[in-house]
Symmetry: C2
Amino acid sequence: MTPDIRKQIRALGCNLTPDMMKGTQRIFAASYGGCAADTVISRDHQYGSDERHRLDIFHKADTRDAPVLVYVHGGGFVMGDKRSDDWPFYDNVGDFAARHGMVGVTVTYRLAPAHRWPSGPEDMASIVTWLHENIAEFGGDPARIFLMGQSAGAVHVASYLAHSCFHGTGGAGIAGALLLSCIYDIANADANAFHQAYFGEDEAAYPACSSAQGLIESSVPWMASLAEFDVPDFQKQAGHFVSRHVEQTGRYPPIHYLSGHNHLSPALEIGSPGATLEPVILDFIASQTV
Amino acid sequence: MTPDIRKQIRALGCNLTPDMMKGTQRIFAASYGGCAADTVISRDHQYGSDERHRLDIFHKADTRDAPVLVYVHGGGFVMGDKRSDDWPFYDNVGDFAARHGMVGVTVTYRLAPAHRWPSGPEDMASIVTWLHENIAEFGGDPARIFLMGQSAGAVHVASYLAHSCFHGTGGAGIAGALLLSCIYDIANADANAFHQAYFGEDEAAYPACSSAQGLIESSVPWMASLAEFDVPDFQKQAGHFVSRHVEQTGRYPPIHYLSGHNHLSPALEIGSPGATLEPVILDFIASQTV
């Protein structure tokens, strides 16, 4: 991160105001270098029956048997898309995967309040099933699918990983998960309209939706990240999860601290020079094959 | 970290056995590229009256007004040195600083049981005083001194930062601290012979030696790191400190998770290709000038 961008991000603060969100997008749209000319992009594959059950695929023509990196966008359970007409996001993530010899996949999923819990892990399951059946055709290895989600997207990925009732007979069907700014335990999160829209108004149902215990017990490898200027409740969530993880396992969990970043910037920075998250993602995926 | 080195480190385990320590040193001695030919090394400046009050300085001939990175070795309070006849450590850290336009300093300090608490923070204070008076002559900026300690060295740096009674009239006199695998709260650490040698046998005195509260309240910026295969008690210490920090401040502390590393490897890897800690250190130092 350049000193100038660091200064701009710091000035935007921690809270998800419209100015902060637009400001962060503007910074990284300006520094983004664009998709590589030889990345093949195949759009809007339908992975389920809903209009939002669509995914885009990014790969090089000669890619074979490669790891598959799936990006699940954020947006407070009620908004967001794999793609925008105004910004290069999240084509930037798909192209990043392709440039590093992987197959990139960006997905759109159903939204609250029309689709409440457990629509998130249900859609993750549909994506995994679709990829198992189809991704080899695009050069992907179905045995090395990695789900990476941000914010609400991280909650959906964590929910899928943590609740085996959403898995097929062969297990979760993924090689790893990457959780960028996750809510680990919804029952202990600050109440807000986004959570109510997706998890419902009955907080007594929240503990059953928590991912914390399932993540701690998961046999599927995962990593997470937390940003220096992350939204305060996300900072608290990560802190409490670290404590719970250490108490139960004696081990510190794989949560990466992203200096200088805010809630949105780590994913938006992907594809910009020196992006913090790029080596972290590549290292995690490489480490699963050692 | 290459897949081969990752595999070797993982196989060495988390505990500080002689095989683990020698094995880790061997790995990074083999991958180390050596000091740059144009790094000027000036050895054994005496910063106090004890035989171990010595420091080495690394810089380029034309360096002026540069940040100063001081490395404080580990060794369980009872052993260790800034330099070894058998290994390139920790000349590797001093040379890393010089190669990046900084002034590198590696230090030796007094050891337990001959020198108990608070010999560590006392020696840190003597180092800071000596650097303020002398480092400009070697191209260093006395206003930008960064103390980086590992293990017992991290405890000494944290103790100095956390206990203002060791500071001069102008404050701590440093621009930042870097704590690699620190014990934050000695009163809640596992009892062991190293702690007893340095902090004494009376555990009732331990809470007053803790750095946790002082770090949380410190106005001097700091960062820390914790390794995936760190010694179990260091993992627990970091976990409990994260929890305490979040509870008191609402903010997640700047603790970097170092995937694939053990207790010793992050510092030993400095100067080897792709060293994990190098960008983390450079980013932290750069961020203090934004």
